[in-house]
Structures are given as C-alpha cells and as structure tokens.
Amino acid sequence: MSRRDYLFRKLLLSLVTIFMVLVINFVLFRILPGDPVRAVIGRNVKISAEVQQALREQFGLDKPIFPDQFFNALRQWAQGNLGVSWSLRRPVAEVLMSKLGNTLLLIGLGQVLSIFFGVLLGLFAGWKRKTPFDVGALTFSLIAWATPTFWLGIILLAAGSTWLGLPTGGIVSPENVGKPLYAVLPDLARHLVLPTLTLTILYLGEYMLIMRSSILEVLSEDYILTAKAKGMTNWQVLWRHGLKNAMLPIVTIVALNLGFTVSGAIYIETVFSYDGLGKLFQTALIKQDYPLLQGAFLLLAVSVIVANMLADILYTSLDPRVKAN
C-alpha cells in the first residue's frame, strides 16, 4: 500500500471517528435527557412556558429526531454555534476559544519538557541497561505511572506553596486578571511552574520507558552490529544509526498520548484552578451546564482526532518504509 493509500485510510478513520463523536454528543445530550429543552439551556434556569415553546421551535425540537434534529444540530455545530452556557451567560464557542490558549500553553510546555527529558533519560537507560541508572529510571517510571495525576498535583501544590511560596492557583494573580498574558509574563511563569512540573513528571516516565524499550530493540538489530564492525565507537553508532530509528515510536506515542494529555489537563487544571479548558470542563460537569459540557467535549475530542491525523502524516514522512509498507 502506498503512502497515499495509507494516509487516505487514516483520513477516513479520522472522519468516521469525528462523526461518531458527533453522534455521541447528539445522543447523549439531545436524546437521553427527559426534556430536550433542558438539555439545551440547562436545568436550573427558570423559564416560562412560552419561552420554552419558542426555544423548542428555534431549536427544532418539535421535529423528528432523525433526520431533522440531527442534521440541524450538525449544521449548527458546523457554523460554530455550540449553544449558550447558562452558567456563564455567554456563547459556548466564545468561552471555549477564550480558554483554549491557556490549555495549549500548559499542555504544550509540559509535553515538550517531558519529551525532551524522557527521550534523553530513556536513551541512557536503554544504553546502560541494568546499571543503577537504568534501574532507578525504571523505578521512577513505574511509580510515576501508578501515581494519579491529580494527587501528584495536590502534593506539589502543597509542597510548592508552603516551601517555595509559589501561587496556590489560578493562571495569574488576581490583580492581573483580564490583562493580556504577554504583558504579565513573570506572573504567568510563576503560576505555570507547578502545573507544568506535574504534567512533565507524569509524562516523562512514559516517554522514558518507550524510548528505553525502543532503543533496546533498535540496538539489538543487525545493522547496529554492521555499524560497529565498520569501526565506529559506541557513541557514534548510537548517534548515527540508533537514534533516528529509536525515536520513531515516540512520534506515534506522542500522538496516542494526546488523548491522555487532555485528560491530564482536566485534572491538573482542576487542582491548580488553572483557567483553561480542563477546568471549564470540570466546572460544566459539576454545574450540569450541558451546553458548555457538550461544546467542550466536541472541541476536545475533535482536536485530539485531528492532532492524531497530523501525527500520522508526520510519521509517514519520517519513515520511508511506510511508503511501500
């Protein structure tokens, strides 16, 4: 199968998945609840019967569920109309967009750091298999894996705020709320330390493990022996032949991890009251603000799917073998 076919298949899969997400969203929030109007505007808002009827008509809730309501919903979503958050009294799409950047910042920073350190440590751990370093690295990864994200956040929060005077929450100090982020960088940086550290520690373990097993597998391949027979030092062999091959799985894993990274962000933003999509999601959950919940779910799910697709494209351009499979 050529590269084109491979990518085409992946694209198809992504589209199907997005469609499934839309269906899930629709089913869960339009069909399941007893009163669909409630689903659209939330439970706790008091509205009169006339308004209810008007809303019913506006949202086409008096029409049959399928195909009318479904496609109507799809159309709405495609136009960027994700409803209105009753708890925040703003359009959902607008709220989401305003918080997206914060989450991207946090996740991006955390991933970059954890990939960097994870790869480095994994490389040494695999190369120096069974030395104390390796054993230590493995132990660390194992424990990091078994540690709940939010709990590590709590511990770091407690330790950091008590002993290092770092802020206990928020994305910026109260006096800086509302200002553009680039204007208050030092404050932002102080607030980012703990959440980013938590994310980094957790994902570092995994990347280290992946890199380690990847480098072990690569280093037992025949071409490594060939390279050594050519008269290269161990370091040269590692650098020229080992590294590129060993890093390929990392790309896949980073992509696969995107979903989990988003999950991690939900926990961490909650613990650190960090004003991003994750915290928004959790708030919507608690307050039963369904429009917001739906919208956030849509955004998160679709982003992850798209990001996965992009990662696949990246992978095929890195590994020439996939072209001919």
């Binding site: 025949d222 071409y223 050519k230 091959n245």
Partner: protein, 331 residues
Amino acid sequence: MAETPLLRVRHLSTDFLLPADKKIARALEDVSFDVYPGQTVGLVGESGCGKTTTLMSVLRLLPANARISGQVFFHEVNLLSLSERQMREYRWKDIAIVFQGAMNALNPVMRVGEQICEAITLRGIMSSDRAQARVGELLEMVGIPKERGSQYPFQYSGGMRQRAMIAMALACSPRLLFADEPTTALDVMVQAQILELLEEIQRRLGLAIVLVTHDLGVVAEMCDAVVVMYGGKVAEYGSVDEIFNAPRHPYTQKLLESFPDLARPTGSLASIPGAPPRLTELPPGCRFAPRCHLRIGKCDSESPPLFEVEPGHFAACHLLESTQDASPPSP
C-alpha cells in the same frame, strides 16, 4: 606458498558466561588456522558449531559476557592484545565483514549510498566529494547501477542487498574479507551470482576471504583451504583437495556423505544421527564421540588433539594417533 600468512589464529577459545543459568557456554576451544593473502578459506560445520563466533572473536565484536583467549595475529600484530580503540582501527580498513544480507544488516531508514559513504568518510580517507565518486565505483563493481545508491534497502532485492553489503565492505580496500553465510537465504540463481561476484572481486583486488558456510558445494567451488568445525573445535583442517578427496575425520567423512552429489545419485540421503552437543553441557571426551560411527574407548574420556596426518593436513581424531608421532602443532 612460502609467504607469511595474513592471519594466524592460534588456540582461540571463547566462552560465554550465562549468569541467568549460572552456566558457561564454551563456544570455541583451541581453534587454529591460517589465512594467506589472496586465499579463500572455508569455515564449515553445522549450525551452532562456532563458525560465526570465530569471525566475531577475531573482530572482537562479541557481547560483554564473552571471554576470549588465544592469539590472533594479523600482520604479526596480536589483535587480542589491542585496546578497543586500537582494534577499531583495524575494523573495516584491514578486515571487513559481510553479514547475511537479511533486511536488517543494512540500516532500513538510511539510503544505501549514504551507508557506504559513511564507511569511507569515517576514516577520513578522502573528502566527501571524492567519497561520493568512490561509492559510485563500488556499486558498479558489484553490479548495481550507481543511481540506485540513493534508494533505501527495502527497495532492493535480496541479492542486491547482499551485493550492496559487499560493496560497503570493500569501501576501505581491506586485505581480508569475512563472509558470513553470504548466500544463505538467497535463491539458487542469485547464490551463483553472488559467488561469482566474490570470486571476481578476489581476483581483481587480491583479497583473502574467510567464507563461513554450511554448504559444501560452495566450499568445493570457491575455497583453497577448509576448516571443518564441530562443537566449537576444529575437527579437520586441510586444503580443499585433501578435505574432499581424503577426509580423515569421521565427521568430515559423514558430512561429505550426507551432501547430495548430482553426479552420483544414491538411493537415499545419508544423515548423521543425533544432534550437536549443547555448548553448556559438553562431553568430557571428543565432542563428536556420541555420534561417531568409529569411536573407540578413548574417545569418551579424552579430547583428541589435532594430528598432522600429512604436511599441512590436520584432523582431531584418536584413530589417527598411529599415523604419526601424535605431536600436535607446537606452540
């Protein structure tokens, strides 16, 4: 030839420590043979008899749990006495190796031309432009159009990959080439081509070759001398004529019998009953004794040394003790 040998292997022994089972695998014991310039020496035996380990021991490419002893003289320098840094100088430049051209002996995500070029530029032998030209020459020498150097190994056929490995091995003009089963895993037609190629290269460049194989037909065709190995020891060593026409070791005799000869088809294929010994549980006497059809009492308790049955023809069998003064080659 009265020249001095290019490579002299003396009493090479290699053990592998297996900490997990607390055992030692005696992969090689007391292996000795010579290689003269321009000569082809065949290293034959069943799988696991130590052929590849011998090559790896000379090049010192064995893993950390190996223990090597003995001497390996290349141009009068004992390779085994060198530091790792010094040894690296010899690799590829003086002794190169061609592995079985399976998919993974070449780096799958690096272009073939680049891999060959690397062997050249690593030594600083020439500038990178000249190196590029040399890569083209090498590819042509093995019959690969030089444009294909920019392709990846998976785009080559099995035979081409083997040729590419040979081209790469010749990059630094070595004096000695180790070829580890270069034709196994290739189909018959391609095998013949590869062997022809090796012969031609040897003629042109005056290379000495140590050819590891389990295929006696290849040996008959290409080799000047043969080392027959069994269970990590040398069973017999002699010129190709002596080995094929006057084998003195029972194992060699059986080996030749079991090899199908199209010129004289027999009713059934002979085979040697039993299996080669486990290197962690070697018999106290001759390693071949359990399967030998000619064994005598002594064979089970004493391991036979190499007896010189005729000048330059050695075999390790107690039955040959009477043929000479039982004085093995002196250290």
